[in-house]
Symmetry: C2
Subunit: 501 residues, 2 copies
């Protein structure tokens, strides 16, 4: 599958150029990781310039007409073998190249300027909880994203052109269909749970050094390797893939609960995806996760399906009790109820596994309406608050706890949110498929061994990198199209047990 | 001095291009810093590829003929104002560009390949102390450096072309002259000291956490700023200038002595140079230290002239005694003798302030002879051992403790060593000039305040960046040409007191 000696001159040259683009991308990932973890604060301004240059050089190289010509040659040469790496490279890089060419560089520059202005405006608006301060900047960001969408007149819905950046192949039609079905299952489930008494929280405090140790031990059982990974702290947890053997995750820690431990599980899930990509794709720009949705399926699966399961904690609870003696005497059931509490709330990033997707569905529908023009930016707060009432039954007290809570719109990242819930859906499908294929999975996890699950995910998800698009990947791994039912089944089963529904 | 609105279109375009080159350089510095401090070990191979790409892109952009044309225009426009930034940019970047153009890229690539092969060979040779294993690789490196020198037929001595990379304007003739005078002063001084009883070492152990704290407090008194600097550990101490407000130093620590503290002083000296460059030179490729020799003068000055002085320790010894109670009752004189011990030894990096330059002079003469062809690589061990006997009076037991001790020749870095001793010489000149200009300097340092010294160095050394070449800088700061006498005077005065010579 790797480049062979019989490789054409065009493919060799294309690989060289892609290697440079990939290396520039890696340098940029490192600049970002460094900025969020170890950079002295005064370094921020200079860092922005360096990152901008590295990104610009990468974009210039990707949009170079010479790449377009090489892609045409390679596509023709590989036409007879559509499963080959050459064919995959020709297909995937063609899409990247066309996108880089079709969005005019003036528009890209204007979006960067608009974002630079929108970020501080959003911060101020959020601090004072006044949407009106952010409104003109969001209007500008929406307008510019409509201009981006207009660069792709062939799409069915203009929002499809934005979605495609984060989730290749996804459309409003397909996403809305699965979101509608997901919502139809989640809303009554959440209502049912709300009738049960809320479980007792775990008694704290949880010393951070002990949380780190516990998280790292669990991470190792997932596949974290000491000589190829590292863990740091940051304001918002994230994963950086510097290389397949240089994966970095971050967490933030609170003494009040074990959220930092679950956050590590989540980011390690992202990292395992990157670590497991076929080495043949190194430096081709295909050697990374295929979409944010598939990526999120991996983080969710290791955080939730595995990380909040009875199987896992039947093994790890004694270790947690050793680390936090106040947990002595807490039964496995009580522990699981506490780390699986369902509570409709205002803030997405604090939402639990059952309500999380509802926050996302709300944002998706608002974004679609903004882009198609059926919702004015000025009407966002009212629409937001109404949907929160309808979907989650909560009253939004102010915009800071409502439509100003997320940074994504200030960044102009319309099309990003849906991938979070797609991740939930896909994690449900993959978890069901993995269990069906490997019936002993949960027993092994209960014995502290997740290696068979990792092996299945490597083979069916990770190794492909960007070779398969998300729909193809899902079809091959599960035999299904995108379908929320497995995730709903998983949640119903889990909460039925925990809450005796 | 910064770019003004009346700047020519050529200068503006040149600045844009230099900004990209500078940003690529910064990315590469960060890749290197990360590799030596925090990178998971398994990340090394991928890192090598990313760094190679970033360096290649920087080299391509620097050697672009368009830069040559812009430089010609800018030089012409700035001819009437040779002190302007535009004139300095035209002058300095012209040299960088010509050098990048004149050394053929095939030769650059061949040197990289030869180095990649030489490094493991050197490691094995050193481990087994068998020079013969390294010999063919050193022969290749020397041969390739002779080819580089041949790209500059106008130089007086072929080694001048190599020196110029690290120390612009330096030549064999000028360096040999000052080294001869330095040696003539050092050899009898070292012999005189050797007749005195060796001072008692300080009683250890020195807990590393306490050393770190003490080092950081002293560093802050030098000019280290918490929000713009950081300290990490590494195998070999170094300084990385990510930006003027993102300076990173490293140290290694031993519980046996305070060498880690002096190492921090040294690296902070390097960092203060970078932090003090005129912001008008940001992203011009002139916004950094002008040469390794001038750089080393800064690290030496803060480590030795300041850091091993009675003035400094009259303030800091009580603090050190608090950190290390076993130092209670040790008088300042005894402490100073212990941290200023002179002991001819085999290993350069462990050498003291008086003998260090002799190690360097030895290497310089061997390198010159290798490049001019008057010494065969096979004869290096014998020549080394003989010179060690002559200069330092020590017998070399084996090649590992002799000519295999340094990594530089494996890297092909011929021309680098002399800058270490040039740094000593220049530190002596600058220290004398600073004291003459600011008679209260030492009193202030004795009161814990080094800000006036820093101010003088900023104005006379740091701010210039690469605007002045090393000789000009020295002339303006001290009124002198390169001269070893001030350093010799400083050493004679210091050791006369300490050793009652």
């Amino acid at each position: 599958m790797a480049s062979s000696t019989s490789e054409s001159a065009e493919l060799t040259e294309l690989r060289e150029r892609l290697g440079e683009i990939a290396d520039l991308g890696t340098a940029d990932v490192l600049l970002g990781w460094d900025r969020e973890t170890v950079m002295p604060p005064a370094g921020a301004q200079a860092r922005g310039e360096v990152s901008a240059t590295i990104e610009k050089l990468g974009h210039q190289r990707l949009s170079d007409p010479a790449i377009g010509e090489l892609l045409a040659s390679v596509a023709e040469q590989a036409a007879g073998d559509p499963e080959s790496d050459a064919a995959a490279i020709a297909r995937v890089v063609r899409r990247d190249h066309d996108r880089a060419v079709r969005v005019p560089s003036e528009l890209v520059a204007e979006m960067a300027r608009a974002t630079a202005a929108a970020l501080p405006a959003w911060q101020q608006a959020r601090e004072s909880s006044k949407f009106e301060r952010f409104r003109p900047f969001l209007e500008r960001n929406v307008e510019l994203r409509r201009q981006v969408a207009a660069c792709f007149p062939e799409v069915e819905h203009p929002y499809d052109a934005l979605l495609d950046v984060y989730e290749p192949g996804a459309t409003v039609a397909t996403v809305r269909d699965v979101f509608d079905r997901l919502r139809a299952g989640l809303v009554p489930l959440v209502a049912q749970i709300a009738e049960r008494p809320e479980p007792d929280p775990l008694p704290g405090p949880f010393g951070i050094a002990s949380q780190r140790e516990l998280a790292l031990e669990i991470a190792r059982s997932y596949g974290y390797e000491d000589d190829a990974w590292r863990v740091d702290d940051s304001v918002h947890p994230f994963m950086s893939n510097i290389a397949r053997s240089d994966i970095r995750v971050t967490s933030r820690w609170s003494e009040e609960d074990l959220s930092g431990v679950f956050s590590i599980m989540h980011e390690v899930g992202h990292g395992l995806y990157e670590a497991g990509v076929d080495p043949a794709l190194d430096r081709t720009t295909l050697g990374t996760g295929v979409s944010l949705g598939i990526h999120e399926s991996q983080s969710r699966l290791w955080e939730n399906q595995v990380g909040r399961s009875g199987a896992l904690w039947s093994h790890w609870l004694p270790r947690a009790q050793q680390a936090f003696p106040q947990l002595d005497g807490i039964e496995l059931d009580a522990f699981l109820r506490a780390v699986n509490v369902v509570r409709p709330s205002l803030i997405r990033v604090e939402a639990d596994e059952a309500t999380y997707a509802l926050h996302v569905i709300l944002r998706f529908e608002l974004e679609v309406a903004l882009i198609e023009g059926s919702l004015a930016v000025a009407d966002v707060p009212a629409a937001w608050n109404e949907q929160m009432r309808e979907l989650l039954g909560v009253e939004v007290p102010d915009d800071a706890n409502g439509c100003l809570q997320d940074i994504h719109w200030a960044f102009g990242e319309l099309g990003y949110f849906p991938t979070y819930a797609l991740g939930n859906i896909v994690s449900g499908q993959l978890w069901a498929a993995a269990r069906a294929a490997q019936p002993s999975l949960e027993q092994e996890i209960a014995a502290g061994d997740a290696s068979r699950l990792l092996g299945w995910l490597r083979e069916n998800v990770h190794a492909h990198g960007r070779r398969l698009d998300p729909a193809q990947l899902l079809r091959r791994a599960t035999g299904q199209e995108l379908d929320p039912e497995p995730q709903l089944d998983y949640l119903r089963e889990k909460y039925s047990e925990l809450y005796s529904l």
